[in-house]
Structures are given as C-alpha cells and as structure tokens.
C-alpha cells in the first residue's frame, strides 16, 4: 500500500523535483538516463558556444560532472534546462578564456562578456555540417561570424524554446539584454539571408 502511494506521489510530482531528488541521491540510473536524454541538446548548445565539435563534446562531460558536484544547489523549483545550460555556459566561457592565449584567430566579444576573446569557427564549421537546407547553409555561414552571445540567445529561444526569463537565467543577464541580443542576432541573420537571396 505504501509502495503504491509512494509510486503515485512520484507520478504526481513535477519532473524538476524528481530530477532534483535523483541528483541529491546520486541515483546513477536516473542520472544516466538524463545524460542520454539531454546529450544532443547540450552538445548543440555547446557547439553554438565553442564553434568546435570536439571541444563541445568534452564540455558536455564536464558539464555533467559539474552538475553532480553542485547537485545540492538545484532545488527543483525551476525547470532543469536553464540550470543545466547555465552550468554548460560557465564552463564554455572558462574554457574559451583559457584558450585565449593559445589561439591567434579570435575576436573580441562585446557587451557584458567584454574582454572575452572567442575563436572564429573552424574551416569546417559545425554549423555548415549541420545545415540541412540551402537557407540553413547560408545561415550557417552567418552564424559562424556571429558573436557567441547572439548565437546562444538565438539557439535558446528558437531551438530550445526557453522563455526570455529562462534565457536571462542561463545568460545571467537582464531580460531586456537577452531580448536585444535576440533582436540583433535575428537582424544579422536576416541581413545575410536577404543579401544572399538578393544576390541570387
């Protein structure tokens, strides 16, 4: 009877709280399923940040290990995704900062990440490899030239479908800043697509 009640209460429990409980208990089965479930989305997000597939794959693992270390900080009141992405974001920024001295091909990132030099995408851009349409190929070229903070905002809004408040939580920026990043990112991509279309 108790088992039935427990099972029922777990069914009624919000997913975020299940995740928080599993993380606190170090439930390896559940955590393993989460790793698998979020792998693609996390990888895509980190590719958007780093522009490099291999680095993104390494950072995915580091992100999950960091999630385990800081499991106590997630209380399950908010959705899990923004928390996960914010950890991945911090790792990506740390990683890119460390890389500053190692690469000559980088640009200065503006806005609140001032001073953070970010690498230009590889010759074989992961965006280009991932493009599945002509428009996507044009966008891929434009994405590669875009600052990561704009790429990030676009990804979180249009692929992850996070709300502005959730994106602000991930980015650690005010909602107005996030909104303007999305507007500017969209405008830049529109310019590239419009320009190419006009040229064609």
């Amino acid at each position: 009877m108790v088992a039935v009640v427990t099972a029922f209460s777990r069914l009624a429990e919000p997913e975020s709280q299940c995740i928080a409980r599993a993380l606190r208990r170090r439930d390896s089965e559940f955590i393993g399923r989460m790793v698998s479930r979020y792998h693609y989305r996390l990888l895509r997000y980190l590719v958007y940040w780093t522009s490099r597939r291999e680095q993104a794959e390494d950072l995915v693992q580091e992100t999950w290990l960091r999630v385990l270390e800081h499991a106590g900080q997630y209380n399950g009141r908010l959705r899990f995704e923004p928390w996960l992405f914010s950890i991945a974001r911090n790792l990506a920024i740390d990683h890119l900062r460390k890389q500053q001295t190692a690469t000559a091909r980088h640009r200065m990132c503006r806005e609140d990440e001032a001073g953070l030099n970010l690498p230009a995408p590889d010759f074989e851009s992961p965006f280009l490899a991932a493009a599945r349409s002509e428009d996507a190929k044009r966008i891929a070229a434009a994405l590669g030239a875009l600052e990561p903070i704009y790429r990030e905002a676009l990804l979180l809004r249009f692929q992850e479908e996070l709300s502005l408040a959730e994106i602000a939580q991930v980015a650690g920026a005010p909602i107005s800043t996030v909104s303007s990043r999305i507007h500017r990112g969209l405008s830049m991509l529109q310019a590239s697509l419009g320009g190419d279309a006009d040229a064609a």
């Binding site: 490899a129 991932a130 966008i139």
Partner: protein, 162 residues
C-alpha cells in the same frame, strides 16, 4: 504609407518571434503585412531565418554519448558510496563523542570518591582525569575524521573529502 508604419511592423515582427505580441498588435501587423509588399518580404525572411535555425541537426556519435553516460554514472556511484562512508563516519564520531561524555559523567563520581580516600587535592585528580581520560577519549573519537589528513592521503577520486 508613413515610414513609422514600416518601422512599427518590423518591430512587431521581431517582437512576435521573440516574446509574443498582443492580439490587437497581431491584427494590425497582419493587416499591414497584407498590404505592404516590402514588409511582407521582411516577414517571410524572418520566418525563413527561424525555420533555417530549426534545420540544424548535428550528427550524434552514439559511442561518445555512451562514453559520457558511463563516466557520469560511475562518478555518481562513486560519490554516493563516498557520501555513505562520510555519513557513517560522522554518525560514528557523534556516537563516540556522546559515549565519551556519558562515560566521563559516569566515571566522575567514583573517581572523586577514590581521590577523597587517597587524600588527593581535587585540582590534581581533575587534571589527571581530563588529561588521561577525557582528552584521549575525545581524540580517539575525532581521529577517524582526520585520518586521511593525518595519513597524508588526498581527497578521493570524486573530489569528496571523507
């Protein structure tokens, strides 16, 4: 058509994609886009950009995904067992401290009686009691907590110091 209308239309188009717009604004925008070819093209372009963003699909490497999953699982298991060890250690230490003080309280009166039989000054036997009974018991109770540090061992592989 006034220039402000085009600017307003573009502003609302972006806003509708980013955060949504009111029904009233939606009606105005639809009506404007229906009449204005330039803004219509802009709306199409915006929609194409968002669709194109959706068409990015990374190829997943199942082996890499499985590798990450295994590493994370094994780390979670390691942390769980380390935390269980730490928990038992703390409980053991708490019990040992409790027994130290309880035992001291129980032993106090017989020692006081013995000291009076041997005519020992109270300060002397009390110092002896603290030095040879209470302190060694407390040190033994706390020893497991500092075992790793005393033995010069690092924290275990998952970053938890037990």
């Amino acid at each position: 058509m006034p220039l402000e209308n085009h600017e307003k239309a573009r502003f609302l188009l972006h806003r509708s994609l980013v955060e949504g717009i009111s029904l009233e604004d939606r009606h105005w925008l639809d009506a404007h886009v229906g009449q204005c070819a330039e803004c219509g093209r802009y709306a199409d372009l915006s929609a194409r950009v968002v669709r194109a963003l959706d068409w990015f699909a990374l190829e997943l490497d199942p082996a890499a995904a499985l590798r990450v999953e295994n590493v994370v699982r094994s780390r979670a298991e390691g942390m769980r067992s380390a935390e269980a060890r730490a928990k038992s250690l703390w409980i053991g230490t708490a019990v040992a401290i409790f027994l130290t003080f309880t035992g001291s309280a129980v032993t106090w009166r017989p020692l006081a009686w013995l000291a009076s039989q041997w005519n020992l000054p109270s300060r002397v036997w009390q110092i002896v009691f603290v030095a040879f009974w209470l302190l060694p018991s407390l040190l033994l109770a706390l020893l497991p907590l500092f075992r790793r540090r005393l033995l010069g061992e690092d924290s275990d592989s998952n970053g938890q110091t037990v």
